[in-house]
């Protein structure tokens, strides 16, 4: 890409200005000498792991023990030096309730008994290293704040906890206490999180090694590739709260890379057969806008690329040897440049596994050492990630000690709902650029070509390495994730690899610890218990041409939990009186559960929620001040993430298969929610009445979860807003703080279709509407084709903005007519579904799965892979053909002129959305007229160029005008039409001219976009709006020229 190449150059020149040298310097800044006796050492940790090692002299732990758990913190200091800190002496533990009347002097007895039990039942010999008595309280239930004896059982290794836990559940004999069996507490918290909770370290926080408290490793004991390597005792670490200067981020290094492989025709590259031909790399410092390292490793020779270093591998006679050298050098580069974060697009499921397997196949020595620990190679594991919120995904994981893999694709899949996640679609969406997409079948040709074609490939590869960085910058992906890690306390890598629950777990444990609560381990239970969800006030469906005021409860569920002090710790089990609670000490929730009031004991969950919501408030304040539209969007994303985190606390208590379900909390929350919506309706409808001196009787026409829509009967927007504000204040008074009903917006006009489906013009001030707001309507759903989205969108604009019902109706008719006449661009008709799992895992036959299988048979190389979205259109099939047989690849349809089942689109895609929108306005049954009638009469039929029947049909030449049969094939029109030949020709020429203009504009646009005039366009970006168009116009023009040719050569 020309602009991209220029961009590369600019980067190079900026660096030259800064450093005064052209060669890209990879090394980290010089590490200044540190003296532990005088200097403290502060750094930002980004990754924490554990390993087994012997006890270290002078450190806590068991002296002489050969296998201890040692924590390892990796990070970067303010100056950008890399650090590895070995943290000693932290041991895993869990709790059990002490046996009745336990004498603290008997801890040894208990320890021996447990050790004996574990030793006899597992391979672990005497793993319990310590038992202590601590006064703790079960988090579950209100106990009048009485702490009881718990035994803290410390184990040598984390993997021994499970055995010990099992023994305690099964019961052990403890001398004078007899048979002791109990539920263990906190036995399932993973060791890294345990360590972070206990030391107060949160994800990506700053940690200080105080003066005199740490040791520098002697060079003979150095294990890591970091510039500094220290040892410290776990209880000497100082964890800084992320405030003030510790809110900053260190200048850590982000490497983004992309590989190209040489596939064989028709086959997706396989690591054991197809070589890696290029690896492009970009490295950027956190806080800077541009990458300071840009290079590419190329198999064979390659022309220079200004602004990037091109390293070529062609020294050996055999390419396989060159490839070995390339891979080996790349791994060395990776270690030298020493990134803290490794990113790219789909690296975890493509680039990294591919490199891994390829190097294994070629037996490249030392290649797999990607991490920062010298003698630990990376190993690939296949995992499956399951989460209610994110679904199930197959995935690969690697241990890359000290570096955090941060795949931009995974980030986008988590945070954004998009129609397509291809890099092209994503860069079009967020960067506003169409990206050239080179099909991998052509990659081989480019590789086998000249230095110039390889250079072309290299530029393309470099761009694919650069885009993920730009996306991260633009979406502030890292910054927001670091913020999230700090707020919720989990390590950065958890955020991409784990679900929502772990974030609540982390926060809960941190709070519980401060107040001496212990958390029971609840065995997973089946989700058989159902509780009533949110209420919906039955919608009074219709089209409202008057202002509809909408009042919202701000953060309803968190507010309810805070207002009513709903928590594990405040739940009253059994009779409140038996706990000595008077009627004023507790509340009864709508579901009949009792919780003590805040005056008696403040719950932990309300505390957690307050933190999250105040962080959200800060984000919202900043959002208000921000002017830059993109930063605005980012801040909006941040406040939304915090909102989701706050709401996930409620979800956590309701997750029956979760870590600590408590349905009394979750069902009470929804119970209060229902009550409040009902109460709001009741108050509003009884207050704002004609009888009370208002102009009209207010009516709540719809309410859902946390909002109510009110028709006050006012004429003007200003009045509706005034009344909304007043009502919000008036009703809020009836609720407990911090529950607050807020006036936010007025819909005018408002189209209420059904539950969770409505659209309206959204006003927050009376002079100008903010936007058109649509909920649950096809404009925002992604499993429809663009045609539906565009049609619905346009109709709603006609109805709500232009207030033109006739225009909307006409638009529907026009669209259907164009559709039936084959005049709608095929890209509008493409439906796409993600190929989430392979065919055998789907219950029934599904269109997109079957199609993917068929495409694989035709050309395995271009067929969609697992995880891809499969684009398809519905074609005309045999009469009884099942729906799944009628899905076809849009390109295949274009190339073979296969007729599309337009009727299917009308019936299955357009009908419901149209009826839904128009029925409330036109009345039941009347909207049907939009779907049949004069405009549906003219239908165009295509003749496919393939298929069984074609073999038996004989091509008959017919008159271009009247379709009557012609005696000779070199005639254009019949005798009857001959006098009008000029007119007929002119019409055909008209058609051709339209096609010619499109052909010219589309293909010259592609020529411009790829940034080269002299080279063929290779791009096959299906997400580009003109991809199908340019193929179709080529096809159509070819056919039309044939028609024109029939008029003969006598010009």
């Amino acid at each position: 890409e020309s602009t991209f190449e220029r961009e590369l150059l600019e980067l190079d020149n900026q660096m030259k200005d800064q450093l005064g040298v052209s060669a890209q310097s990879w090394k980290r800044p010089h590490a200044k000498a540190v003296n532990p006796k005088v200097d403290s050492f502060t750094f930002q940790q980004l990754d924490i792991d554990t390993y087994e090692g012997p006890h270290m002299k002078g450190m806590p732990g068991i002296i002489g023990n050969e296998t201890m758990t040692i924590m390892r913190l990796f990070g970067v200091n303010f100056l950008g030096n890399s650090v590895c800190v070995h943290v000693h002496g932290f041991m895993p533990y869990f709790y059990v309730p002490a046996p009745k009347s336990f004498n603290p002097a008997d801890v040894g007895v208990f320890m021996n008994a447990l050790n004996a039990a574990v030793s006899s039942k597992s391979k672990h010999v005497n793993p319990v290293v310590k038992v202590e008595v601590q006064m703790k309280e079960n988090i579950f239930g209100y106990h009048s704040q009485t702490k009881v004896q718990f035994l803290k059982i410390t184990m040598n290794m984390p993997n021994q906890i499970a055995s010990a836990r099992k023994c305690m559940e099964d019961g052990i004999n403890v001398d004078k206490y007899g048979f002791v069996a109990c539920q263990p507490y906190e036995s399932n918290l993973e060791i890294i999180l345990r360590f972070m909770v206990d030391t107060g370290i949160v994800g990506c926080s700053w940690v200080e090694l105080p003066v005199g408290q740490y040791k520098i490793r002697a060079s003979k004991d150095i294990k890591s590739r970091c510039q500094y390597e220290f040892d410290v005792a776990y209880d000497k670490l100082v964890a800084h709260v992320s405030e003030g200067e510790y809110l900053e981020n260190a200048p850590f290094r982000v490497l983004s890379f992309d590989i190209e492989c040489k596939g064989r025709p028709g086959v997706f590259p396989e690591a054991d057969k197809d070589p890696v031909i290029q690896i492009a790399n970009m490295v950027q410092l956190q806080g800077e806008e541009r990458p300071f390292v840009r290079n590419i490793f190329c198999l064979k020779t390659c022309d220079n690329i200004a602004g990037s270093e091109v390293k070529t591998y062609s020294r050996h006679a055999k390419d396989i040897d060159n490839e070995r050298e390339l891979l080996s050098d790349w791994a060395k580069f990776l270690r030298d440049v020493d990134p803290d974060i490794v990113t790219g697009y789909n690296i975890t499921n493509f680039d990294l596994p591919y490199l891994f397997k390829r190097a294994e196949k070629l037996n490249v020595k030392g290649f797999h050492h990607w991490g920062r620990i010298m003698d630990t190679p990376s190993i690939m594991r296949d995992t499956q990630f399951s989460s209610k919120a994110y679904g199930t995904r197959d995935s690969h994981t690697f241990n890359i000690e000290g570096r955090v893999p941060f795949d931009v694709l995974q980030l986008l899949q988590r945070d954004y709902k998009l129609r397509s996640y291809s890099l092209n679609a994503v860069s079009a969406e967020f960067l506003g650029e169409q990206k050239e997409d080179v099909p991998h079948t052509i990659i081989s040709d480019l590789q086998e070509g000249t230095d110039q074609t390889r250079r072309r490939l290299a530029v393309y590869c470099l761009k694919d390495a650069y885009l993920p960085l730009r996306l991260l910058n633009k979406l502030m992906g890292l910054i927001n994730y670091i913020e999230m890690a700090r707020v919720t306390g989990v390590p950065l890598n958890y955020l991409l690899t784990r679900g929502q629950q772990i974030k609540v777990v982390s926060q809960l444990y941190r709070r519980a610890r401060l107040q001496d609560y212990v958390i029971p381990q609840v065995p997973s239970q089946q989700a058989d218990e159902q509780y009533e969800g949110a209420t919906v006030i039955e919608p009074n469906a219709g089209y409202y041409d008057t202002p509809i005021t909408t009042l919202d409860f701000a953060s309803l569920y968190p507010s309810i939990m805070m207002a009513h002090n709903l928590c594990y710790t405040t739940l009253i089990k059994g009779n409140p009186a038996s706990l000595g609670l008077g009627p004023d000490d507790y509340i009864k929730t709508p579901t009949g559960d009792n919780f003590v009031k805040q005056t008696k004991l403040k719950g932990l969950l309300p505390d957690i929620l307050e933190d999250l919501l105040s962080a959200r408030k800060r984000a919202k304040m900043a959002l208000k001040k921000e002017i830059d539209p993109f930063k605005k969007a980012v801040l909006d994303g941040r406040q939304l993430a915090l909102k989701i985190s706050a709401n996930s606390v409620y979800g956590f208590t309701g997750a029956t298969v979760g870590k600590l379900p408590c349905l009394q909390i979750s069902s009470s929350v929804t119970g209060f929610g229902r009550q409040m919506i009902e109460q709001t309706k009741q108050v509003v409808e009884s207050t704002y009445t004609i009888a009370n001196g208002y102009n009209a009787d207010a009516k709540v026409i719809y309410g859902d979860t946390d909002s109510v829509m009110i028709k006050f009967g006012t004429e003007t927007l200003a009045e509706a807003m005034e009344m909304g504000k007043e009502a919000a204040g008036f009703v809020s008074e009836k609720f407990v703080n911090p529950i607050k009903l807020e006036f936010e917006k007025v819909y005018f006009p408002y189209l209420l279709i059904s539950k969770k489906r409505y659209a309206g013009l959204y006003w927050t001030r009376p002079d100008k509407y903010d936007k058109m707001d649509c909920k649950g309507i096809e404009t925002v759903r992604r499993d429809n084709c663009h045609l539906v989205k565009n049609l619905v969108d346009r109709c709603l604009k006609f109805l709500l903005i232009e207030r033109d019902l006739e225009g909307a109706k006409q638009h529907v008719k026009d669209t259907i007519s164009l559709l039936l006449q084959n005049k709608i661009d095929i890209s509008q008709l493409v439906i796409s579904k993600a190929l989430a799992k392979s065919a055998e895992h789907y219950a029934g036959k599904q269109a997109h799965v079957e199609l993917a299988a068929r495409m694989r048979k035709r050309d395995a190389g271009s067929a969609p892979n697992l995880g891809d979205r499969v684009p398809y259109v519905i074609i005309k099939g045999a009469k009884k053909a099942a729906a799944y047989e009628k899905a076809e690849d849009p390109m295949y349809v274009l190339e073979h002129n296969i007729p599309i089942d337009y009727q299917h689109y009308v019936e299955h895609q357009l009908t419901n959305p149209i009826i839904r929108i128009f029925e409330p306005i036109m009345g039941a049954g009347k909207a049907q007229s939009l779907l049949s009638g004069e405009h549906t009469r003219k239908v165009s039929v295509m003749t496919p160029t393939i298929g069984g029947l074609m073999k038996f049909t004989k091509k008959v030449h017919t008159c271009i005008s009247c379709r009557s049969r012609l005696p000779r094939e070199d005639m254009a029109v019949c005798e009857h039409c001959k006098p009008h030949e000029g007119d007929i020709l002119r019409r055909e020429i008209d058609n051709m001219r339209d096609l010619e203009e499109r052909f010219s504009r589309l293909w010259s646009q592609c020529q411009r976009c790829q940034g080269s005039l002299h080279q063929d366009v290779l791009c096959t970006s299906r997400d580009c709006p003109i991809f199908y168009m340019r193929s179709k116009v080529k096809q159509d023009l070819f056919v039309q020229q044939k028609v024109i040719d029939r008029f003969g050569d006598e010009w």
């Binding site: 007119d983 019409r987 020529q1007």
Partner: protein, 464 residues
Amino acid sequence: SAHSDAAVLMQHVDESTKDSNDAKVERTSATFANNGKRFLTRGKGVQQQYSHIYYARLEMLKESVKQNALKQWGKEAPFVENILALRTGQKACILGTVYKEMKKKPNILRELDEAFVAPSSPRAKFTDDRDTLILEDQAGRISLIGSNLPLNSVVSGVVMACYGIENADGEFYVSSYCFAGMAPQTSRDVVSESAEGDKYIGLVSGLNVGPQNKNLYNIQMMADYLTGSLGNANEQSVASKISHLMVLGDVMGPMPKKAEIQAYVSDKNARNSADEQHFALKELDSILAQIAANTPILMAPGEQDPSNLSLPQLPLHRSLFPTACAYTSWTSLTNPFDVAINGVDIISTSGQTVNDVYKYCDIEDRLEIMENMLNWRHLAPTAPDTLPVYPFHNDDVFVLDKTPHVYLAGNQPDFEERVVKGGSGQEVHIIAVPKFSSTPVLVLLNTRTLQCHPIFFSGPDDDM
């Protein structure tokens, strides 16, 4: 019907020409050769992409540009093999195709965007202060900078050599640039005035007959003039010396934009029923027949005529003008065309090429644009970037391998002419032939002196 009309007309013509036998003799004596067979491209389909045209163009012009550059910069001019071979800080000459990066250039991607709002009035020019030039060869491309660039005059697709130096920013600072210059020209025997007097070619374009221009008065006047039934004896004698009438495109007016959506109301009969264009064509056919009966017509299609849209445009089909075509004096030509009449090489376009270059450069003077095109040795540089063109495979038919004696462009705002000279003694008469519908002019070109005589027609409706 048209046929009987023509029959009557022919009778009339026969009678009117009886008095001027000499005119008839002269007309038959003009020699005519069509040298533009290369423009007669019949579609082998559109399976190629546009890169091949650029490739072919560069290959075809490379040597001429280089030779011209060596002439200008000396034999030692340091030409590098290709753009990639440039080294920072070293003086070098490069050669390639110009691409003009323009912010305001219409972009179909942008237009497809739902949010796109078409500018309220179509622009006359798409140039902008931020436009930049890039030079590209088969190997790579580089940005051109410097105050000495032809940024105002050059357009995308022109082949150019640059002398300069690559700076640290990877841009090429241009100190001097060079085009191919005019192609060789065949020598023309300029005879002294012959006994039978000078001969003329009539030039007209942009009749624009159609729904928006129903007033055929001026056209009929021109026809009457050509057939000798208008004017005094002197004028009649000049008219009689017109050996050919060249019609340089756009006999038809702008076509109404097809309303696709309304298509469903039209039934099958409507397909065959006559429409407004049909009537326009019919009237045109009858007027052209009147002329053809008397004067040979060379008809080239233009942007709005019923021929293919991409250049080169094929000759108009005979079924469009059934009456006029019946005359042997009717010749349908391509656009562009390349003919020799009485030994005068004439290359002509119906104006799209010039009008398109006009939009993408800052030059107002149409003749200057035409002169530039001769110096670039290219008739349609902006094709395919902004002008539809047939996707040639190994050829670029618009490259000029010779310089004509007369270079015409139809459908220009005004009648203008100028004689320009090339570097090796070439002398070209450049003529802008105006749109007849707005400037009713018939230009008479003297095939001996190559001087032009415009003849204005003004009907009763014209306020002149």
